[in-house]
């Protein structure tokens, strides 16, 4: 059945929004911000402040991490509701939310003021706060610099960097050096001035105030009054007014706002307690004393400050008028422009670069016709015209420069490997819409020919662009790491920084942290957290509390109800600053004049304070250096093939029409293969039967939320089946106007470009309008905005003769792409890698398996699943051996030897040491010899014994452990860092203490393998547990033999549990037994009834009906489910008691 949403048009966008919100909660949390529009709203004129009695100049959002208790959107919405016309954001020390705030406020008709509450390290060692506002562009740059200094940008020592990260602050000297264009408010209760006044030290306070006047200038300083009904506010404010009057300095009232509404004070208390790692009971001194730190209306605040000074409120408006710097318009970032050769203009330089490569790419007359070349020429000319029109030449030249660096880095990293350096292995690969560009292809950003693959360019470049094009680059991990360092070397730390992310609280982490500060029992909190899924909501958590035996009796109690409410408020809040997976910004001017930066945790790397969306809004060059583990795996495989077989494999020249490779794909034999290995893909491949790279491009793109929500999957699969049985059968199109666009995807919308093309072809949108619609969908635009697009679409389509109902249905389909979808260019790039990885798996399975093992963590499956799959493909997996294993996994004949680094407690450094010592001094002769020469910690050596790395020495593992105990008795200390202690103090004879012991049994050995390596080379738990399950429980092998629609009971280790949002509550379990994998479908009702089993159980018994369709993977539709614990089911001879 076609699964198109059946909602009435008027409700559809709301439904999509709700679904997307849930999905965002589930998956998007690399940064928690709401998505601001890229096209800024018109600036709010100054006359908006006419007649306003008060402007709030001191506001904290949740970007004051673990302090502010409201989202920016909540603050902005509340401010607008209360009649505010301007608002200053003054988060603690950082400006993480400044750009988002500026856009969100402007869009809501609120004049944004950019500010910062900076912490000052006073000369007496105390910390104080000052409120700083950017009056001008120069003032903004000074705020950025101060924030950067506070977070340690000037620190050179590691210790200093760490201290500033944990305790950001500036010195008085730093402050003095960055005052131009800044308006200073003297701070809240923790301001130096307020503290001195409160301490009854007027002379010292006067001195400080005069110092501020000297540093900032008389016009720039205002004495700040705050009144939150805190004990001491009134006398302090009265004293501050007296001081200000005496010194001739104006006063200004502020709200010291920490949340938008009074009821959020509880969350604020919780945040403070989390921040200080204390419970609520223990954090009395750190928490605020009441619930009065909420945003108040201008009238209420004006009235409040009138009691202190008649100008206190009015001055806030005067300051707001003076702060004319608008972050949405005045940032002034300019794209970097590399130096030109021979006096060429930038566009001439870019054209020159493209021309140089054009001949090499399109000159082969065997592969390209004159028409192909003419098409490529025309495409190049058009792209260069658009690049010049949008002044993007510098942007592309910077990318070209980066790719040249990447080529150099790749040569260094790949070293003497001929396979990696002689072949045309690119240093990196483009992904995303940039792959559709011939300029990107020619300057080395992409490896896919956009002309030959008929890739649509206008998603990437068009006439009406509002933001910079997206270019993402994938690199093997080793190349990426070195490339980032090279970028710093070339551009310098002042001009290059990593993009930030602010990982957000998920529902699960919120439950843990809130539960802890509420002093709730850790066991129950832990269990509840494990059960929570990211898209749970308040109601579900409450239901869970009532269902769960540990909390059912107390679920209605105050503490648990507080947990439910506050955890749901906290979910989505930013938790800490982190670095984006690969985004870097580059600037021709010092970056810290645009955005605060700080040292990253990684040495010699710097991090800017904005996330990718803020960087995007600032129109700054962001280059995404993404580490793609599959590229590492593939390059590693190519290396291994050369080393072990002497074959040089050039993956760009392998046959791309190999029937045997496609046979594997069509069978769904794709565990460990790039992009088409997931449970959903494996289930679909036998039905769609991809037989070309074009088919694969569709395949990697179809199992995405966009096509799924847009209802593309079932019609596509059905039509593929129809086409197979009748190649000439007519494919139903939504309308003839889109036949050209949808022909290749059999009448459904799968690629992002098709959304744009359908808008153009069916409804007459311009390319810019179509792209604006796509962006509006992917960024949280209002229902009104989407309704406007709907009207435009249906009106345009009707004008072109499309029936209204057809246009409405098509618009609904397109709305599905509010969810994530691939551009075809991206699908094509990924399809190539999917094919190459399948090819390697088929023809070089040991090397490929080894490459996969060495590139973990990656992909859909854990190493133990990959192990079983490799074994099913004839690859033997050998356990680590101290005389045979390297630190990483290696290939031995047709087997893979697990590396020593895989063993827990040994670690990378320990494993490398074992390998290096052996290479330098020869094989280890005994356990004693090993211990003496490597000096590994006892726990590491024990682990190696337990997983059999010393089996070749002749003693069994228990005897080896006993022997190790004897050696270590004489050893006080033995670590890698204390080499002088490595030798045993005295080589005493131990033979008299050695005993003959029974070895561990096979089950114990298997258990040790899983515990210490997360895989077992020769055993699966189910082979031991099966006998305890009794009669009637089928294995995966039996399941394959059943005819179908039969009742069956299976059991296995849960290797994957999936609950796709698009599957309406259905949970898919992938079970593994000693013979293979089994799909189990758990209905929403059953999953709800057995939530514990579905979410927590390691081993599951599922009973149900086997569903078998021709050519498809078999699925057991479960009707009952239960957990089984090894201790219950295990039938083993009783072991000898020991020790």
């Amino acid at each position: 059945m076609h699964s198109r949403p059946t909602l009435a048009p008027a409700d559809s966008w709301e439904a999509f929004e709700a679904r997307r919100d849930a999905q965002e909660q589930a998956s998007a949390f690399d940064t928690p911000r709401s998505k601001a529009p890229r096209v800024p709203g018109a600036p709010i004129p100054l006359d908006a402040l006419d007649g306003v009695p008060y402007v709030e100049l001191h506001t904290h959002s949740n970007y004051s991490l673990l302090e502010g208790a409201s989202r920016l959107s909540e603050l902005v919405d509340t401010a607008v509701e209360q009649g505010h016309r301007a608002l200053a954001l003054t988060d603690h020390d950082g400006m993480f939310g400044a750009m988002e705030f500026a856009h969100a406020a402007t869009e809501s008709g609120l004049r944004p003021i950019t500010g910062l509450e900076i912490t000052v390290a006073e000369l007496d060692g105390m910390r104080s706060h000052l409120t700083l506002l950017a009056e001008t562009r120069r003032g903004y740059a000074n705020l950025c610099r101060l924030s950067s200094i506070a977070f340690g940008i000037n620190e050179t020592a590691v210790k200093g960097k760490q201290e500033r990260r944990l305790d950001p602050c500036v010195t008085v000297e730093d402050l003095c050096a960055h005052t131009e264009g800044v308006i200073l408010l003297t701070g809240c209760r923790t301001g130096r001035l307020a503290q001195l006044v409160e301490a009854g030290r007027p002379a010292a306070a006067r001195e400080v105030l005069h110092a501020y006047l000297d540093w900032f200038g008389r016009e720039q300083v205002f004495v700040e009054l705050v009144d939150n009904l805190v004990f001491g506010d009134r006398p302090r404010n009265e004293a501050l007014v007296r001081l200000a009057t005496e010194c001739g300095v104006p006063v200004v009232g502020t709200g010291d706002v920490h949340y938008h509404a009074r009821e959020r004070h509880r969350l604020q208390d919780v945040l403070v307690a989390i921040h200080h790692r204390k419970s609520l009971d223990e954090s009395h001194r750190e928490r605020r004393p009441n619930d009065e730190f909420y945003l108040r209306s201008p009238q209420e605040q004006a009235q409040r400050f009138e009691a202190y000074h008649p100008e206190a409120a009015r001055n806030s408006v005067r300051i707001a008028r003076r702060c004319t710097f608008d972050l949405t318009a005045d940032l002034g970032y300019r794209l970097p422009s590399p130096p030109m050769e021979h006096g060429r203009t930038p566009i001439e330089e870019l054209e020159q670069v493209c021309r140089r490569r054009f001949g090499a790419k399109y000159g082969d007359r065997m592969r390209f016709t004159d028409d192909d070349r003419a098409n490529a020429e025309a495409r190049l000319a058009e792209e260069l015209r658009l690049i010049a029109k949008h002044d993007l030449t510098g942007f592309f030249l910077v990318y070209h420069q980066v790719m040249q660096l990447a080529t150099e880095v790749a040569a260094e990293v790949r070293g003497p490997s001929r396979a990696r350096s002689v072949t045309e292995l690119p240093s990196g690969r483009g992904r995303g819409s940039s792959v559709s560009s011939i300029v990107c292809y020619l300057i080395g950003l992409s490896h896919i020919d956009p002309v030959k693959n008929r890739l649509y360019i206008r998603r990437f470049l068009n006439e009406e662009m509002h933001s910079l094009p997206d270019i993402d680059l994938d690199f093997p991990r080793d190349i990426r790491a070195r490339l980032i360092e090279r970028v710093y070397e070339v551009w310098g730390k002042d001009h290059a920084a990593l993009v930030a992310t602010l990982p957000a609280y998920r529902f699960r982490s919120a439950i843990r942290d809130v539960g802890k500060v509420l002093n709730l029992p850790p066991t129950e909190i832990d269990r509840l957290a494990k059960l929570a899924t990211p898209y749970d909501d308040l109601q579900k958590l409450d239901e869970e509390l009532h269902r769960f035996a540990g909390t059912a009796d107390v679920a209605d109690g105050k503490a648990w109800q507080d947990l439910v409410l506050i955890a749901s408020q906290l979910a989505g809040f930013p938790r800490h600053l982190s670095q984006h997976v690969g985004g870097m910004v580059i600037s021709s001017e010092p970056l810290i004049d645009y955005v605060p930066c700080q040292p990253a945790a990684w040495p010699n790397r710097y991090l800017c304070h904005w996330d990718k969306d803020s960087i995007d809004d600032a129109r700054m060059v962001k280059i995404d250096f993404l580490g793609l583990a599959m590229l590492s795996a593939v390059e590693d495989s190519v290396d291994l093939i050369e080393r072990h077989r002497g074959h040089i494999v050039d993956l760009s020249r392998i046959p791309f029409d190999d029937e045997a490779v496609y046979d594997d794909i069509c069978r769904g034999d794709t565990v460990g293969v790039f992009q088409i290995e997931s449970r959903a893909q494996i289930a679909m491949l036998p039905r769609t039967q991809p037989r070309s790279l074009d088919d694969l491009a569709v395949q990697v793109s179809i199992v995405r939320p966009g096509p799924i929500v847009g209802g593309a999957v079932n019609p596509y699969v059905r039509r593929r089946e129809q086409r197979r049985s009748d190649p000439n059968c007519a494919i139903e199109m939504p309308h003839e106007s889109v036949r050209d666009v949808l022909e290749e995807t059999l009448g459904v919308v799968i690629f992002q470009e098709q959304v744009l093309q359908v808008c153009e072809q069916m409804a007459g949108f311009s390319a810019g309008e179509a792209d604006a619609f796509r962006r509006a969908m992917s960024r949280r635009r209002s229902k009104q905005a989407m309704e406007a697009y709907r009207l435009q679409f249906t009106a345009g389509a009707t004008q072109r003769g499309v029936p209204h109902a057809v246009a409405e249905r098509m618009f609904e389909t397109l709305l599905g792409f509010a969810e994530f979808g691939f551009p075809k260019s991206h699908g094509t790039a990924f399809a190539l890698l999917a094919y190459q990885s399948t090819w390697l798996k088929r023809y070089y399975a040991p090397e490929y398996t080894c490459g996969l093992f060495n590139s973990q963590p990656m992909g859909f499956y854990q190493p133990h699943v990959l192990t079983r799959d490799a074994q099913r493909h004839g690859v033997q997996v050998l356990r680590p051996d101290v005389n045979a294993s390297d630190a990483i996994c290696t290939v031995e004949q047709s087997a893979v030897r697990v590396g020593l680094g895989y063993v827990q407690h040994v670690g990378g450094a320990g494993a490398r040491r074992v390998e290096e010592v052996r290479r330098a001094e020869g094989d280890y002769r005994s356990l004693f010899d090993f211990v003496q020469r490597t000096g590994l910690p006892r726990r590491a050596t024990e682990a190696l014994i337990q997983i059999g790395a010393f089996d070749a020495f002749g003693l069994n593992r228990r005897e080896l452990l006993w022997q190790l105990g004897l050696f270590c008795a004489g050893m006080q200390r033995s670590t890698l860092t204390a080499l002088q202690e490595r030798q045993l103090h005295m080589q005493l004879p131990t033979e008299q203490d050695e005993v003959s012991l029974h070895d561990f049994n096979p089950y114990q050995r298997m258990a040790a393998d899983y515990a210490l390596m997360s895989l077992s080379p020769d055993a699966h738990p189910m082979q031991f547990l099966r006998m305890g399950l009794g009669e009637g429980v089928l294995s995966s092998r039996h399941l394959q033999a059943l005819p179908g629609t039969e009742r069956a009971t299976v059991a296995g280790l849960v290797v994957c549990r999936q609950r796709p949002l698009t599957a309406r509550g259905i949970v898919f379990l992938l079970l593994e037994d000693e013979f293979g994998l089994m799909n189990v479908l758990v209905s929403r009702e059953l999953a709800s009834e057995h939530r514990d089993v579905v979410h927590l159980a390691q081993f599951v018994v599922a009973e149900g009906t086997l569903e078998v369709r021709t050519g498809e993977q078999r699925t057991l539709v479960a009707t009952s489910l239960r957990e089984f614990l090894p201790a219950d089911a295990l039938v083993m001879p009783r072991g000898k008691a020991w020790g």
Partner: protein
């Protein structure tokens, strides 16, 4: 007599003995100071108590 200060305390909302209280410090004409409090859950005119330090 005049009101020298008003302040509020909200504490222990997570416990059964939660406290939401408004304090008023009065400066009496005879020079003495008096602190009164009122539990906010009660009606505004009820239950003003003297705080003894």
């Amino acid at each position: 007599m005049h009101v020298a200060e008003v302040w509020r305390v909200v504490e222990a909302w997570w416990r059964d003995d939660a406290l939401e209280r408004t304090y008023v410090r009065l400066q009496l004409d005879d020079g003495r100071a008096l602190t009164l409090f009122h539990d906010d859950e009660e009606a505004p005119d009820d239950g003003w108590h003297e705080q003894h330090y």
